[in-house]
Amino acid sequence: MSTDKDISPPIIIKDKGANHPINHMKDSIMKLLNSFGFEIIDGPEIETEEFNFDMLNIKKSHPARQMHDTFYVENKSKLLRTHTSPVQIRGMLEKKPPLAFISGGKVYRKDDDATHLPMFHQVEGIYVDECVNFAQLKDLIYKIIYSLFGDGIELRFRPSYFPFTEPSAEVDILSKEGKWLEILGCGLVNPIVLDNCKIDSSKYSGLAFGLGIERIAMLKHGVTDIRDFYKSNLDFLRQFK
């Protein structure tokens, strides 16, 4: 064996693998929110109409219930959750305020095209305490979006509608090309939802927000077809080391 230090064989480069970019984005957003003081909770992907709709003030007759075109399973006895919000309901029923939860995972809607998939991922958060107000919600949303897109990003709040929040807002960021892009939905928890969860809405108020992970991952990574995330193509996955 040669003793000269210069003449060693080439270093063995062992290729590492990678987290899936969607899980990576989801987990890092959860970690960020966790550092803001939110506790991570988990809930089932197969839900009941009660938790997915009724408790969230989405009435049977409500157009919003049609908007979510829902997958039902086992003779309509259950459904695939259309959002991660039922997890918040379960959390609120279990614990007393003050409470701060986040939850992330797979959700399902009956869609299938270049921008919508039947399965996608969400992260949602809720904070309930005495005197939670809209100004605090705005502060939190600014923090989240600045952490994701940098302090320089311009954002706007637009009034919107979700049956489980009131007032409700959607938040857009201004892209480099000068286009407003929708990033998240948020609002103050509708007092009806608090009452549904046996939380006294005359004493407590809450804020809630939800983000679509695919949308943010597409923007951050420059992926234009959402379906690329789920082809399990190694050439694709290798790029996200």
């Binding site: 908007m67 086992e74 605090q136 103050l188 193509n233």
Partner: protein, 634 residues
């Protein structure tokens, strides 16, 4: 909903520019796109009251004073004597009928009516139906016109529960199923209430005498009908979102005014039926609480200013206008105030959550992922929907298609699909894993959190591992410290069953996460947000090809020069390069280095010549280093 900028302007005293109006609409929460001075509005489902010129102008009244653009027919109208029975007053608490008879047929429309059709590119139908459509656009209230000469008998409104054939005025034949609210002429269905009228009594170009029906339908009785019968209906869209329950007479007077703008009215009669007393919704007027909700210090004068411009009447309590059925409590009032001021103008207040929680993510799972990634495995996420339902698979009641009728009960099948997909794309080494909840149904719902691991091919693309193939021992070695050996049972997968040409064995495991112990040391980093996000490069859909070169190098210094040269070599088509063989022959004092070059283009299949040309330039460059030979090459 399409609303023309010019049509909207006629409701205001000032003429704001289209861009200004657009900004104000966004401030109010009305998303839209603009094309050729037409707003393509996307209203949230709670704002059915905005689905018209009047409705939208009411909301914009916060910023712009309105004029009295809409004039109503103000001459006295006689009582209409009509045979009508309402058997479902809950579904239809308010309804009005008007009968109008005109002198002669109308061929030419006034400018405002003509422009509705031309600006929005809408097809005309007949005089009365055209007015009905225009009034719906202007006032937000759909009406239905019956040709009076075809109405002989008793009209009734009913919820029916039988299967009946019905032909719409657009000549679409449908079969009514389930519960439907309909208008009947004696026993014949003449109108699917709130959705579409029937052909048998519809107006034509020759209609001179018309009965206009104008109602408030409970959204519950309308919802879902357009989907059930595959009908596009602007009327249903409005009724589903709730029209103004107190506006039927006004709408009919507007209808009459438009008729009288075009023709001499011979006869006009009206009947209004209210089966339920309308009760105004009232909310306690509490500006302090509103400021509490918003975190603001808005004066009560400013609040009142905004609310009264939106039609709320303020006193000790706030009286909600009849068209705002979406306003229920003080949080809704706070949203109205916030919209008027602009969400972006509202202040920020530092949020202090009460506790700091530790990371409670699944530690075993995080460690397990890091371990596998370190060994070159890629995480994948697969669709849960599969075509075949074996035992206990959960079935989807309304699947997207027959290939997705069940939820999977294992991960391995998905990973095998992933393997074959990648092998078709000339990947010779595949190492993947997926972690997922799996649900099954056996009398009750069962949930298991599992990891599936699958690998096949070479252990690694380096000279140490290139010739070593992945086998069971390879995966056992990775996992043995973290799970007891007896739990590692491999799934045997036969290549023959997969009609796959590759000879590499497939090593596959599927285990419950809970079976792993927590001894997975040194792997505990949960992901942080990356500083710089990878900018994804589109993947080539064309085949790749490779070339190998074996160099004979006289000493190690030369070897380093060669490695540097190849590392720095750039080509658009060179996708990957690695040393697959390295051998020092001490006796002959020669080092053998084998390089593999992989080529692929993004837009086409590379020709042999193109690849050879690149190889030639690599060879020429490496020949410039003394003491390097390529045996077998002349």
């Amino acid at each position: 909903m399409k609303i023309a900028y010019e049509h909207l302007l006629s409701f205001f005293i000032d003429r704001p520019s289209i861009n200004e109006l657009s900004n104000k609409l966004f401030q109010l929460g009305h998303e839209h796109e603009i094309e050729n001075e037409i707003f393509n509005m996307e209203f949230t489902p709670n704002r059915g009251d905005c689905l018209s010129l009047i409705g939208l102008s009411r909301d914009l009244n916060i910023f712009y004073d309105r004029n009295n653009y809409v004039s109503l027919y103000d001459k006295p109208i006689n009582n209409l004597d009509i045979e009508f029975e309402n058997h479902s007053q809950e579904s239809c608490p308010y309804i009005s009928f008007m009968k109008i008879e005109i002198d002669n047929n109308v061929n030419k429309y006034e400018d405002y009516l003509e422009r509705y059709f031309s600006d929005l590119n809408i097809n005309k139908n007949n005089f009365f139906t055209d007015i009905s459509n225009y009034v719906s656009y202007e006032m937000g209230q759909p009406t239905h016109c019956y040709d009076e000469s075809l109405i002989h008998g008793k009209i009734s409104f009913k919820e029916i529960n039988s299967e009946i054939k019905f032909e719409t005025l657009l000549e679409k034949k449908i079969k009514l199923k389930g519960t439907n609210s309909v208008f009947l002429l004696d026993d014949e269905v003449i109108n699917l209430a709130g959705v579409v009228g029937g052909k048998s009594t519809s107006c034509s170009k020759n209609t001179r005498s018309v009965i206009i029906e104008c109602a408030y339908f409970n959204p519950e009785s309308i919802i879902g009908k357009t989907i059930n019968y595959d009908i596009r209906s602007e009327a249903a869209h409005k009724f589903e979102r709730g029209v103004d329950p107190m506006n039927q007479e006004n709408v009919l007077r507007r209808f009459a005014q438009i008729v009288s703008d075009h023709a001499k009215i011979n006869k006009i009669e009206m009947l209004s039926l209210n089966y339920k007393k309308y009760e105004e919704h009232q909310i306690v007027n509490d500006p302090n609480k509103v400021n509490h909700i918003l975190g603001t210090k808005i004066s009560s004068e400013e609040m009142s200013g905004i609310l009264s411009k939106l039609g709320f009447i303020l006193g000790d309590s706030i009286i909600v206008p009849s068209y705002r059925s979406d306003i229920k409590h003080l949080n809704d009032i706070a949203e109205e105030v916030a919209r008027g001021i602009g969400y972006d103008e509202l202040p920020l207040e530092k949020l202090q959550t009460p506790k700091n929680y530790k990371i409670e993510g699944d530690v075993i799972e995080i460690k397990l992922k890091s371990l596998l990634i370190d060994k070159g495995f890629y995480e994948v996420i697969n669709s849960p929907f599969v075509s075949d339902g074996k035992e206990f698979n959960i079935s989807v009641d309304n699947p997207l298609d027959s290939n997705r009728e069940f939820l999977r009960n294992n991960i391995t099948d998905s990973l095998i699909e992933n393997l074959l997909y990648n092998e078709r794309r000339q990947q010779d080494t595949i190492k993947i894993f997926e972690i997922s909840d799996l649900y099954t149904f056996n009398k009750k719902l069962n949930k298991k959190r599992k990891i599936g691991i699958l690998c096949s091919g070479r252990i690694g693309d380096n000279h140490d591992e290139f010739s070593k193939k992945i086998n069971e021992n390879y995966l056992i070695k990775i996992l043995e410290d973290f799970i007891s050996k007896e739990k590692i049972s491999f799934k045997s997968i036969n290549r023959k069953d997969l009609s796959s040409k590759s000879k590499n064995s497939i090593i596959s495991l599927e285990l419950e996460i809970s079976e792993f112990n927590e001894n997975i040391i040194n792997y505990n980093s949960i992901c942080d947000l990356p500083e710089n996000f990878v900018q994804y490069m589109p993947i080539s859909e064309f085949p790749s090809t490779y070339r190998d070169i074996s160099y004979a190098v006289s000493n190690n210094i030369k070897s380093k020069s060669l490695q540097k040269l190849i590392k720095n070599f750039k080509s658009d088509y060179l996708k990957k390069v690695f040393i697959f063989d390295y051998f020092e022959n001490k006796k002959l004092d020669i080092i053998k280095i084998g390089y593999r070059f992989v080529f692929q283009a993004n837009d086409r299949t590379l020709t042999d010549k193109e690849v050879s040309d690149i190889m030639e330039s690599i060879i020429n460059l490496s020949n410039e280093i003394d003491g390097i030979e390529i045996p077998g090459l002349n």
